[in-house]
């Protein structure tokens, strides 16, 4: 499963899941376009880690909801590394507001970043992915594309939209040999504690204390970490996954079934 020498654009790569994906792909020799909008320090840290892993990257500041900025970002990345093979749409805005608490500006913001941003990046990357022979679009969504959040109505709406954007892209871009898939992470620990994975606890070792900490919600013994999503991205970016398109793969430690 070689990704050596490929070029990936990862949106929202300064923090959390985007950082985790960047590191996993860098380990496999992928050169990374590290997109960020506000998390400049985080993006610099991602670049350092990508280089420490023996790969290379470039910082790309852009608001994914701004078409001109997105197009410039794609062009800059392609000029730097000679093309784009993989787009990982990952950036998301979240307000943590219920139905009655959203105002119109908040609605517009979350819709434009989470849904229009995925569309704009997919569209703007297309000329490069066509050239790539086996281009890949991987949309990081959420279990909340199916299950409501009960804490952020518009966030869930955008994830419902991403599900259909993935399916439409999959059938429209099939003629270019590009596959398009969705990953639906469950709760993922992000931030400083997420650097080192905790081992999965075997079922016979799960103790009461562990259950109290949420073991019943996460039967495999832990919540997600960014590299869990990164490994799945690496698979969906590989040649071995070429028959998989328009799919949504849940990565949630079984939590949505509980």
């Amino acid at each position: 499963m070689s990704l050596e020498g490929k070029v990936a654009l990862i949106t929202g790569a300064g923090t959390g899941i985007g950082k985790g994906i960047s590191k996993v792909l860098a380990e496999r020799g992928v050169r990374i376009g590290i997109n960020y909008n506000s998390s400049e320090d985080g993006a610099r840290d991602t670049l350092e880690q990508v280089r420490a892993l023996g790969s290379d990257g470039i910082l790309l500041k852009a608001n994914v909801a701004d078409k001109a900025q997105v197009e410039t970002m794609m062009k800059t990345l392609a000029e730097q590394f000679g093309g784009i093979d993989i787009l990982v749409n990952n950036s998301a805005a979240q307000k943590n507001l219920g139905l009655m608490d959203y105002d119109e500006a908040g609605y517009d913001l979350v819709m434009s970043v989470n849904l229009m941003g995925y569309f704009l990046c997919s569209q703007a990357s297309l000329p490069y992915l066509k050239e790539a022979k086996g281009g890949r679009i991987i949309n990081v969504s959420s279990v909340h594309g199916k299950r409501p959040t009960d804490f952020d109505v518009v966030y869930a709406m955008t994830k419902g939209g991403i599900k259909m954007l993935t399916r439409e892209c999959a059938i429209e871009f099939a003629k270019y040999g590009i596959t398009v898939n969705t990953i639906e992470p469950g709760a993922v620990q992000i931030g400083t504690k997420s650097g080192k994975p905790r081992p999965i606890v075997p079922a016979d070792k799960v103790v009461d204390e562990h259950r109290r900490r949420g073991g019943r919600k996460f039967p495999l013994g832990r919540s997600g970490i960014p590299s869990d999503i990164g490994y799945l991205v690496a698979y969906l970016a590989s040649e071995e996954s070429e028959f998989i398109s328009g799919a949504a793969i849940r990565a949630d430690g079984v939590s949505m079934l509980m």
């Binding site: 078409k67 219920g98 139905l99 009655m100 959203y102 105002d103 119109e104 609605y107 819709m111 849904l115 229009m116 569309f119 704009l120 997919s122 569209q123 297309l126 909340h144 594309g145 299950r147 409501p148 959040t149 009960d150 109505v153 518009v154 869930a156 709406m157 955008t158 994830k159 419902g160 939209g161 991403i162 599900k163 259909m164 954007l165 399916r167 439409e168 892209c169 999959a170 059938i171 429209e172 871009f173 099939a174 003629k175 328009g246």
Partner: protein, 266 residues
């Protein structure tokens, strides 16, 4: 006994054939109607006259419903006339033919505003009012294309994908205030083969034959389901998406499609 006697229904796109069929059904069942009309009532004048002749009270509004201010204002008109709204029927279904590769930002925003933002704002503002008066119903007339891609109108399908999640969120939020929220995933009706004609997908090729019975759906079918979803007999339905497509989307590679009979061909 009329099941909807004096209940007040708001229909978001009353000029659309689905809106006209729903209005007729609800009026027949005794409801008072707020018909939000794109033509300011012109294209439904005959319908309104017939409802009024039969004794129904009707208010015609004309709001684009894409800003908070506009929806608050139209709710104000409803409350001024009827003092309340008991049910919201959101049936905005605007299909924009456009591929992803060539879609511009303005077209994207307009399609999402029309199909999704109207649903969000109406749910929020009418939903609050219904919660305040102790209950109500929201029904979205949506589409099988909240699951099935079109290959020709991606803006429509992503908009409807978002509305599906709005339905589920609102079912939790408003459900705690005795407002039930449900969604109809409507399958093929006459003309969908043109509305969704695609160079990529053969979904609508001989579309009648993909329905096991070879009968297309009608807006009267929609109206009957809307009626069921707003009466008390459906009280345990909340957050449901009901696929009403005659079995259209159950095919895989069309192995056993029926041949069209002359009768089915019309």
């Amino acid at each position: 006994m009329l099941k909807l006697k004096d209940r007040v229904a708001f229909i978001s796109d009353a000029d659309h054939p689905s809106g006209r069929a729903i209005a007729k059904k609800l009026a027949d069942e005794g409801a008072r109607l707020v018909l939000n009309s794109r033509s300011n009532g012109a294209s439904i004048a005959g319908d309104v006259a017939s409802y009024e002749k039969a004794g129904a009270e009707v208010l015609v509004t004309s709001s684009a419903l894409v800003t908070t201010e506009a929806v608050v204002s139209v709710l104000g008109e409803c409350v001024a006339k009827f003092s309340r709204v008991d049910m919201l029927i959101h049936n905005h279904n605007v299909v924009t033919k456009m591929d992803i590769e060539h879609c511009d930002e303005e077209t994207f925003k307009r399609a999402l505003d029309e199909n999704t933002k109207t649903a969000f704002l109406c749910t929020q503002i009418f939903g609050k009012q219904m919660g305040d008066i102790g209950g109500g119903q929201v029904v979205y007339v949506s589409s099988i294309h909240d699951e099935k891609p079109t290959g020709s109108a991606f803006l429509y399908s992503i908009a409807k994908g978002a509305v599906k999640m709005l339905c589920r969120e609102a079912a939790l939020d408003l459900g705690r205030r005795d407002v039930r929220v449900n969604l109809i995933e409507l399958g093929p009706v006459e003309g969908d083969n043109e509305r969704f004609a695609s160079e990529i997908s053969d979904l609508y090729l001989d579309y009648q034959t993909r329905i096991p019975s070879t009968h297309l759906g009608t807006y009267e079918d929609v109206a009957n389901l809307v009626w069921f979803l707003v009466i008390d007999e459906s009280r345990f339905l909340n957050g449901a998406d009901i696929r009403m497509d005659g079995g259209f989307t159950l095919h895989y590679m069309d192995h056993k499609m029926r041949k069209l009979t002359d009768a089915a061909r019309g």
